[in-house]
């Protein structure tokens, strides 16, 4: 009996093990949570129906894992959702397959987010969010309000990691003109951040940022716009200021040496199509990277997306970050730890 069972188990394991290797399968990897759920709904499911290629989900995205997979020569991931500065750097470092633009139509894609190795998967803004319960009389409007402890007292929450965003908003709050942001004046940025340092609670993931804002633990801070939108939809009275919102895109990339390159290109072509991008935007509040998606969305949905707030919008410079991330990180952790 037990022998039979173990044979059965082995057989079962063999089937499970071999699944990703079947020709009609591919693996899409993203950050998990509501974002990946939406990607599954808007991209993977309809794509599977249309192409017959089954899309398995994996995650969260881990650059270390991606690098290890590529180095091992047989990456299990077919398409990966990454941050744009990583896409730029990884393309340079030879970790990615060049995209096939005869399959992927880039004529309709936002050129800000297209490189030979990546296309934008969706784009988001870092925007100022606040809990209205705590700021009844006067609401914060700009990044400098984030640093104004007397008008807007309380804790503020900022993104914890050394990544595009926090340093930029500190410089903007300090009066640096948007077109003079890069190269970043690190001394000035840290000096500005010093003025609110004891009041900062750092968030390391989207769910945590929502928890901090919704509970009022940190009634003001910088957030991914989609996260503020989700809190609002859950019934908490939170406000958003789009003033100088900082945009960046996630990017779809293909790890070098992936088994099924063609499926990867087809999937990316599908995921960046107008309809798929519109469907995803509807589910998440992040903006489509396909310029044809807008007309497929209702006006009230469009109003919540970053691409309706391009007035004063600032693009985070991914090429600069790809180049300087290491040295900035050193100073970042040094400063944070002090």
């Amino acid at each position: 009996m037990s022998k039979l069972l173990s044979v059965g188990a082995l057989f079962g394991a063999a089937i499970l093990w071999s699944t990703p290797l079947l020709a009609k399968d591919m693996v899409f990897t993203s950050w998990g949570g509501t974002t990946q759920d939406a990607q599954k709904e808007a991209w993977a499911k309809p794509f599977a129906k249309q192409s017959g290629i089954n899309v398995l989900q994996d995650g969260p995205t881990d650059y270390g894992k991606l690098k290890a997979m590529v180095e091992s020569g047989k990456p299990a991931w077919t398409v990966v959702d990454v941050e744009n500065d990583f896409a730029v750097k990884a393309g340079k470092d030879g970790l990615l397959e060049p995209l096939d633009f005869s399959i992927i139509d880039k004529s309709k894609l936002d050129p800000r987010f297209v490189t030979p190795y990546s296309v934008g998967s969706f784009y988001y803004s870092f925007a100022l969010g606040y809990n209205r319960d705590q700021f009844r009389k006067k609401t914060p409007k700009s990044w400098s309000d984030l640093f104004d402890l007397s008008s807007f007292p309380g804790k503020r929450t900022l993104y914890k990691w050394s990544a595009p965003g926090v340093l930029e908003l500190a410089l903007l709050a300090d009066g640096v003109a948007p077109d003079k942001l890069y190269p970043l004046d690190l001394d000035r940025a840290f000096k500005k951040l010093d003025t609110i340092k004891p009041q900062i609670i750092w968030w390391s993931g989207g769910a945590q940022s929502q928890q901090l804002l919704a509970s009022g633990e940190a009634p003001i801070g910088m957030f991914w716009n989609g996260r503020i939108d989700a809190i609002r939809r859950s019934g908490v009275d939170v406000g958003i200021s789009w003033d100088q919102n900082l945009t960046a895109a996630d990017a779809l990339v293909v790890p070098k040496g992936t088994v099924d390159k063609e499926a990867a290109m087809k999937f990316i072509a599908f995921a960046t199509s107008a309809q798929a991008q519109a469907d995803f935007a509807l589910l998440t509040g992040y903006a489509p990277t396909n310029t044809g998606s807008k007309e497929l969305l209702k006006p009230d949905v469009r109003a919540t997306l970053p691409d309706e707030h391009t007035q004063g919008q600032i693009n985070l410079d991914m090429a600069y970050w790809a180049e300087h991330r290491d040295e900035i990180a050193k100073r970042w952790y040094d400063w944070q730890g002090k």
Binding site: D62, Y63, G64, K65, K67, F86, K89, D93, K155, K160, W161, S162, A163, I201, W202, S204, A207, Q208, Q211, S215, G216, E217, R325, D326, A329, K330, Y333, D334, Q336, G337, K338
Partner: protein, 291 residues
């Protein structure tokens, strides 16, 4: 079937372990597997730490020179030591309770402890975040009772990390302690009482020394596990008390600086092993001293 095993167990004196080298061949497959799964990756990472970005010891030099890394390591050991000490103090009476309670109550208590261990780590950490924050239950209750006027800062700092980690580590100290304590004859404590020892004396001179191996084993496990802790310090801590695992993860996952990440990981491993060896030695000496 049953009778055979009885005969086997009952028949003859207990067998001494054979002295031939045959035993080694039995452990060989396990050794090979362990080497492949545990030792090899560590060695590969070690290799990267001296080859990336260029051949040499520059990663280790930076590790020693940089104030940031030093602070992170010091903090890691400090937090782990504090957490270990608190878990011992809290876990000890709970373990003793598990031993002396009537079976039914002990099982219930045991169930609660095990259940907490099985609950998702992330969920438990978030739960603490909600409890400890300024607008959380604990602060609201204390303010409501008039004990404090201003909410206490219990989270996003060392206090939060310590509370969260202590809670998560408690089962790992309670379980080895219970095992050790179950081996202590209750008669010994009764005998101590009969000989005139007060409760405190009986604890200090009988129970505590006899349960020392449990404290050592559990404490060591808690300490070593704490050194590598990631999720809880990341969510409940502030940035000034970042722990080593978080830094290593950041170096490897996001910055792709595997050389530095490898060096930091290897340094942590060496320090941990050194501490382990030291404690083992002290413990042996203490045991030998008593014998």
């Amino acid at each position: 079937m049953t009778s055979v095993s009885i005969v086997e167990r009952g028949g003859g004196p207990p067998q001494r372990r054979r002295r031939s080298g045959g035993g080694f061949s039995y452990v060989l497959p396990a050794l090979v597997l362990l080497s492949l799964v545990f030792v090899l990756p560590v060695l590969l990472l070690l290799l990267r730490s001296v080859t990336e970005p260029t051949l040499g010891l520059q990663n280790y030099a930076e590790l020693v020179e940089s104030a940031t890394y030093g602070r992170v390591f010091l903090n890691t050991f400090l937090v782990s030591a504090v957490v270990t000490a608190i878990t011992v103090v809290i876990g000890y009476p709970i373990a003793w309770l598990l031993v002396i309670l009537p079976r039914r109550w002990a099982d219930l208590l045991f169930g609660i402890i095990i259940l907490s261990m099985w609950t998702n780590l992330l969920a438990r950490t978030y739960a603490w975040m909600v409890l400890l924050q300024r607008t959380g239950v604990i602060n609201k209750t204390l303010i409501g009772l008039g004990i404090i006027d201003e909410p206490l800062t219990l989270v996003n700092n060392l206090v939060g990390v310590t509370i969260g980690m202590t809670y998560i580590m408690l089962p790992f100290i309670i379980l080895p302690l219970v095992t050790t304590m179950r081996g202590i004859e209750p008669d010994l404590l009764r005998a101590a009482a009969l000989c005139g020892a007060g409760r405190l004396d009986a604890f200090r001179r009988v129970l505590l020394p006899l349960s020392l191996p449990g404290i050592a084993a559990g404490g060591l496990m808690t300490f070593v596990m704490s050194l590598g802790y990631f999720v809880t310090p990341s969510l409940l801590g502030g940035t000034s008390n970042m722990m080593a695992a978080e830094l290593i993860a950041q170096l490897i996952q996001s910055l792709l600086n595997w050389g530095m990440g490898g060096a930091a990981a290897f340094a942590l491993l060496v320090l941990t092993l050194a501490l382990y060896a030291l404690q083992l030695r002290l413990f042996r000496r203490a045991q030998a001293g008593r014998a």
